[in-house]
């Protein structure tokens, strides 16, 4: 039986950051809790914050379950995390700038060239172009799990367009509305500075040809997209335009937005669509979502695209294993946040080990995301394991494996009362003129008893995440 670190109770005692929450739950009878939970759900529905899950059928507008029990970090814990997250965001950006330039890290033999240049996410079209300030990933979402009081591990990096930040903001908003006294009793660091910080970050990477306050727009695939709510929410909060490809056109080396008062120049595009769909002239010719000619404008310095096309090569799960090496190579520092030990099935010895120990490991597709295409060995049936074994044996290079981590738990409201459930954390690090991190993030919780998969597509929920002020 694995021992899991419980973030609230340690050795029968309540850990300091959760001290006041114990009284709060004790003072809350079951009926009141049920009432509050219903109230929270009604609020989420009214705001319209829903999350469509692909491939599962059912209600596309179903809510991500919200758990009212907050997850809490002390100031000391957060400071340590913050340093590690910022360090990682710097290293990932240095890596991207390098591999689209002289690729010194490959020349130095620190990472195999084939892993970078033959990667599907490597965009040959942007080599030799340096984006403003040399930044490729302006919003870095780093997924972190905890296994002990001082043990944190990075599960994966999201350099493209990490979603979920609207939940971080809304969860806080709703908790404050429902439990104002909690926010008087506890000194909690605010997260509502995120929108301003994001706007500052985007404005700081305006293209060289922009000589005034830049116009910023969020490019969305449209309202059928599962994260459309988040796109419009962020546009509202920042006071910037929400645009679709059809609203934009290129002319004279710039990108223009159609408005009732005539064309308006757009300088910075925070895109929430994949590289492949950005520009049919450069990428997928059948894309209806993008703007023809956008990449020519981008590469000639007429518009900035955040994250920069090509940033996805740093998200690759095989490239992930080299991030600690990137920290040493580019920053000359030791990594403050550790990776989860990873076996690369592309390597013969690793693959042999993985095939022999499948029942104990978490096996993932290199290019997969969202909890699809993965196997959690200890939680799977023999048939599931055998089916996956065949897949790995057929295409070893498509898979990596990691030990099943003893993910920490936090108390969570369940049918029977309060019970420990496994959690992870996604903070959103902003990289522009400055590197900024709001104190908090998105805590995802696996609501099924014993489940270690926190993805919303696999029955995960969300929690408000607190960082206590000193």
């Amino acid at each position: 039986m694995t021992e899991y670190f419980n973030e609230m109770y340690e050795g029968g005692k309540v850990r300091e950051p959760y001290r006041r929450l114990e009284d709060w739950t004790k003072a809350m009878p079951a009926e009141l809790r049920a009432m509050k939970q219903a109230e929270a759900e009604a609020l989420f529905r009214r705001i319209g914050i829903t999350f469509a899950v692909y491939g599962e059928g059912g209600d596309p507008d179903r809510l991500i379950p919200f758990d009212m029990f907050p997850r809490v970090f002390t100031q000391t814990e957060w400071r340590k995390l913050e340093r590690g997250i910022k360090q990682r965001a710097r290293a990932l950006n240095a890596f991207l700038l390098d591999v689209y330039g002289r690729a010194e890290i490959v020349r130095a033999g620190k990472i195999p060239g084939r892993l970078v240049f033959q990667n599907e996410a490597f965009e040959r079209a942007v080599t030799g172009f340096t984006p403003p300030r040399g930044i490729y990933s302006h919003i870095v979402g780093i997924d972190i799990v905890r296994t002990g009081p001082d043990e944190f591990f990075v599960l994966e990096d999201n350099c493209r367009t990490p979603s979920g930040v609207s939940y971080m903001l809304e969860n806080r908003e709703i908790m404050m509305r429902m439990f104002p006294q909690l926010f008087r009793e506890n000194r909690i660091e605010p997260v509502d500075g995120y929108a301003d910080a994001l706007r500052r970050t985007l404005a700081s990477v305006a293209p060289s040809k922009c000589d005034r306050e830049p116009n910023i727009g969020i490019l969305t695939p449209g309202h059928y997209n599962s994260a459309y709510y988040e796109h419009s929410f962020l546009a509202d909060l920042m006071g910037v335009e929400l645009v679709e490809g059809a609203d934009l056109f290129v002319e004279g080396g710039f990108v223009w937005m159609r408005t009732t008062e005539g064309p308006k120049k757009l300088d910075v595009i925070y895109r929430r669509i994949d590289d492949a769909f950005l520009d049919p002239l450069c990428f997928r010719p059948d894309s209806m979502l993008g703007i023809p000619g956008l990449m020519d404008v981008y590469r000639s310095g007429g518009v900035s695209i955040c994250s920069a096309p090509g940033a996805g090569v740093a998200d690759d799960k095989a490239v992930y294993t080299f991030v600690p090496e990137m920290v040493r190579f580019y920053l000359g520092e030791e990594p403050l946040l550790n990776n989860v030990p990873t076996w690369q099935c592309a390597k013969e010895d690793d693959c042999k080990y993985v095939l022999e120990h499948m029942g104990e490991l978490v096996v993932k597709e290199v290019h997969g995301s969202g909890g699809y295409g993965m196997l959690v060995g200890p939680k799977s049936t023999t048939e599931q394991i055998e089916a996956f074994r065949a897949k790995v044996a057929a295409h070893p290079e498509n898979y990596i494996a990691q030990p099943t981590l003893a993910l920490s738990t936090t108390p969570t409201f369940v049918q029977e009362g309060i019970a420990p459930r496994h959690v992870d954390l996604r903070p959103y690090c902003l990289v522009g003129e400055k590197i900024e991190l709001v104190p908090g993030g998105l805590t995802r919780v696996a609501l099924k008893e014993g489940s270690l998969v926190v993805n919303s597509s696999q029955g995960g929920g969300v929690k408000d995440t607190w960082v206590l002020a000193e």
């Binding site: 040959r124 079209a125 080599t127 030799g128 080396g253 049919p280 002239l281 590469r299 000639s300």
Partner: protein
């Protein structure tokens, strides 16, 4: 050799289009084998957009045309001084790693027949350069030059299966074969002044480049069974014909498109 180029491309639409956007890779490469004396690219009624040189060393220029558009005419004219470098792309500035040219694309998909052709052709090769030459010869033998038998969308595997095609199919097949053997390869578009037999060959042309360690990129033209020399003008490159296309365009609207191309190359008497 000083070559004069006049290249006019016209897209005609049977119903006016709302707008058109183009991305042009129509500028002679800079390397030891060619020097541009004079060059101009114009799009009738269009607005010139940004231009830049990409990581592969190609100059790219964007254009847009406001609607209603019933025809788009792209005119290229200029003069280039060329020299024979035995196919070697010497003095060409680019920053992309050759490893980025090992990826398969739809057009260069490696069928069993492609793999087989590559492996048989490479047998007995003394070194990488010899292997590249053998591949080029094998492709020329396997695919007969026969215009009109393939389309712009024909893949290397399809052309090989039917045993005939044009320069685009030769280039795709050679690229696919080289990648089978782990040799980086790319598609090159450009112009060719005359054919080996001296017959005038007034057309846009395409060939392949293969990366040979310790030498660099070397051009191979299976269609003419030679390496590019002073009769060739190199414009741009890519993973396949679609990526390397000298003209990429999108027109918005419902009209059907009709394409008309004339290319005239002349050698200036010295």
């Amino acid at each position: 050799m000083i070559l004069t180029v006049n290249h006019v491309t016209t897209y005609e639409y049977d119903a006016p289009m709302r707008a058109a956007v183009q991305s042009l890779r129509l500028f002679p490469s800079r390397f030891d084998g060619q020097r541009t004396i004079q060059w101009s690219v114009e799009v009738e009624g269009g607005t010139r957009g940004g231009s830049f040189r990409d990581g592969a060393g190609d100059k790219v220029e964007g254009w847009s045309i406001r609607g209603p558009v019933s025809a788009v005419t792209i005119s290229v004219s200029g003069q280039v001084d060329t020299a024979d470098t035995a196919g070697v792309l010497r003095g060409h500035r680019e920053s992309v790693s050759p490893l980025a040219y090992l990826r398969e694309t739809t057009a260069t998909w490696q069928s069993a027949e492609i793999r087989d052709l590559a492996q048989k052709a490479a047998k007995g090769a003394t070194d990488a350069l010899d292997r590249a030459h053998r591949l080029s010869n094998a492709v020329a033998e396997a695919i007969a030059y026969r215009p009109g038998t393939t389309t712009a969308h024909t893949t290397a595997a399809e052309a090989l299966a039917q045993g005939e095609g044009v320069c685009q199919d030769h280039a795709h097949a050679l690229i696919a074969c080289a990648r089978v053997l782990g040799m980086p390869a790319r598609y090159v578009s450009g112009y060719l002044f005359a054919r080996e037999d001296g017959e005038p060959h007034e057309a846009a042309h395409a060939w392949a480049e293969i990366w040979v360690e310790n030498i660099g990129w070397i051009g191979f033209d299976p269609a003419n069974q030679c390496c590019p020399d002073a009769r060739f003008i190199r414009l741009g490159s890519g993973l396949d014909a679609r990526e390397a296309a000298p003209i990429k365009g999108v027109a918005q609207g419902e009209g059907a498109e009709r394409l008309d191309v004339t290319v005239a190359l002349e050698a200036v008497q010295q």
